[in-house]
């Protein structure tokens, strides 16, 4: 399993990151005080639903926020000890792909449909490693082979539409590896592919990580994928980290009501088939229209008056992880024994 080979040296450090949509004084913060570190060889998963801020966190770290729409308004990001927040676009160009690479969500729109795979992989190699085109093409074939593309020589001449979703995802990964980055941000790498292919992609990420001690920040909504490869989990809700802990803890003793709700709503195994599943009421709030206090309070079965007044800080709980919950902070969240027990109360 991955995660066990983390050597404790933080490669990516993110501290109190804040990103605003609109002007500097905008109160719409898709990323609102997010902090975490990723060590070499470690996989940290960011879990959350659409609009929770996971992709915006990734884009903020990479300096790839859409211009004129969103901007980083606070916090600090460092890669391998070098602060990269606040760097100019030009300076970031020497960071992206070299220190930290970003594998975007959608392999279809991320590859140029009019250019061959060979050209799209060779060009960045020529930029990153000075050398002849011939050498770059040879490197490209090697790299495509490394990410498990069968017959890489033939794939060089293919156009993106001629490859399956899984193969396109592999091509993107190959492109991310060109600059031999220390950190990879993989944004929903398994969402666009089928379940049997998903497994191959995860195994591939794990084996590349083992080989090169890559620090991986995995962004996903799929709790099963997280359980498979992450050692640390951040749960995001409405722009904030609401729970932060080891994968072991977050899945076996979740300390935030939202995490519990998410886990329960996909727990088909402990529900009799064709009976109602546990479901969280309502929907995630809109950024411009957050409830006062805890953003989750309107959907929370444990909410108290204080939850509708004060924003809870991410703080230690009775468990090993951190949770942003007033009830958990007082140690009054009911013990998480099994989902069955909780469900019987509803």
């Amino acid at each position: 399993m991955t995660g066990t080979n983390a050597d404790g040296r933080p490669v990516l450090e993110v501290e109190d990151l804040r990103t605003a949509i609109g002007g500097k004084d905008s109160r719409r913060l898709p990323v609102n005080g997010v902090s975490f570190t990723v060590s070499a060889g470690e996989t940290v998963a960011v879990v959350g639903e659409s609009g929770s801020g996971k992709t915006m966190t990734a884009l903020s770290v990479m300096g790839l926020l859409p211009k004129g729409v969103a901007q980083v308004v606070g916090g600090r990001v460092a890669v391998s000890g070098r602060v990269i927040s606040g760097l100019s676009d030009r300076e970031m160009q020497s960071v992206r792909g070299v220190d930290i690479a970003y594998m975007p969500q959608d392999p279809v729109s991320s590859l140029n449909p009019a250019l061959t795979i060979g050209l799209q992989v060779t060009e960045p190699i020529l930029v990153h490693r000075k050398g002849t085109r011939q050498q770059a093409e040879k490197d490209a074939v090697d790299l495509l082979g490394k990410v498990g593309i069968p017959d890489p020589r033939r794939a060089m001449h293919a156009y993106p539409h001629q490859l399956s979703g899984g193969m396109r995802q592999r091509v993107l990964l190959a492109m991310c590896l060109i600059g031999q980055p220390s950190t990879l941000i993989a944004d929903e790498p398994t969402t666009a592919v089928d379940v049997t292919t998903q497994e191959q992609i995860i195994d591939l990420l794990a084996s590349i990580q083992t080989e090169s001690h890559l620090a991986i920040l995995l962004i996903t909504h799929d709790l099963g994928v997280v359980a498979r490869i992450a050692s640390t989990v951040l749960v995001m809700y409405a722009g904030r980290v609401v729970e932060h802990g080891s994968a072991e803890q977050v899945f076996s003793e979740p300390m935030h009501p939202y995490t519990r709700g998410l886990l329960q709503s996909v727990d088909f195994d402990s529900v009799t088939p064709r009976t109602r599943l546990f479901a969280l009421d309502g929907a995630p709030p809109q950024l411009g229209n957050l409830p006062a206090g805890c953003s989750f309070s309107s959907r929370c079965q444990y909410a108290e008056p204080v939850c509708r007044q004060a924003v809870p800080e991410l703080a230690a709980t009775t468990g090993t992880g951190l949770s942003a919950c007033h009830v958990a902070a007082r140690g009054e969240l009911p013990p998480w024994t099994s989902t069955q027990d909780l469900r019987s109360g509803t």
């Binding site: 399993m1 639903e49 659409s50 001629q162 399956s164 979703g165 899984g166 193969m167 089928d194 379940v195 049997t196 292919t197 998903q198 497994e199 191959q200 195994d203 909504h221 799929d222 709790l223 099963g224 994928v225 997280v226 359980a227 498979r228 994968a247 072991e248 899945f251 076996s252 709700g261 998410l262 886990l263 709503s265 996909v266 727990d267 088909f268 195994d269 529900v271 088939p273 064709r274 009976t275 109602r276 599943l277 546990f278 479901a279 969280l280 009421d281 929907a283 995630p284």
Partner: protein, 327 residues
Amino acid sequence: MTSPGAVLLEVDGVSKTFNARSGGLGRRIQVAAVNDVDLRIEPGETFGLVGETGSGKSTLGRIVLGLEAPTQGSVRFEGQSIGAMSRRQLKQLRRRMQVVFQDPYESLNPYMTVREILEEPFRVHGLYDSERTPARLGELLDVVGLPRAALRRTSTEFSGGQQQRLAIARSLTLDPDLLVADEPTAALDVSIQAQILNLMLDIQRARKMSMLLISHNLLVVRHMSARLGVMYAGRIVETGFSEDVYRSPKHPYTMALLSAVPVANPRKERERHRIKVSGEAADPASLPSGCPFHPRCWLAEERCRTTRPEPRPVGAAGQLVACHVAT
């Protein structure tokens, strides 16, 4: 109403081949999307179809709805062949069969108010009644858990989950006997998925409606359906009672599919037995000879490469498996 014990929907030996060109302007090719499929759905029953992209599950759903004509085979609704129906009969049939698609953003007209969306089926079928219909719309919104005030708004003012509730309300306007739900939760967030599945369970139970649920998610299909079919390369490779197929899959592809579903629990996840299949799903434009799964199958023998396996009873009662080797 259908008489008890009768079969509502029968699909017999249905195949669908599309003509296409390889790579836009390339040579003409034939894409065998659905290949000799049988299935039956009883009144009040949910049948689940599970498969990966390109397995033919959505094409089969469209054939069942009469939106696509099969190249071969027949679909019968209460014993009547859909292919032999006149336009008038087809229109009648459409009242009794409804569909919910994956993406409510695309299946609801953003310029129509909720009232217009829900009234449309009544108008199309000449059933609009200025006294009774408005009351009916309110009831429908109650059933799917949307406020009655929604009638005056457009669908775009609602979240994804609420839009899917609206699409479900629309599908129920004419009291269908069969609902085809094609990936009804695939576009929704995890916390919303359970809400919609619960809603579908409640409705199906209250109305004794039959349902064909199409999904890539084996856990969803198993939870919702009494029986299910696993599709691969246009064929149903395994079918049976959901619990039997889930507890004791017999087709190697079903085993692989089940083993690939990660469990949201790191400890269970590590202990879980996993079968790794190599390669990718068969391309319906160039299907392998014999069993379409044989190039990826760890149990494949010579006959799997040459002879296509027909469904045969293996395992529990009602379990049919299209595999030479399965025991």
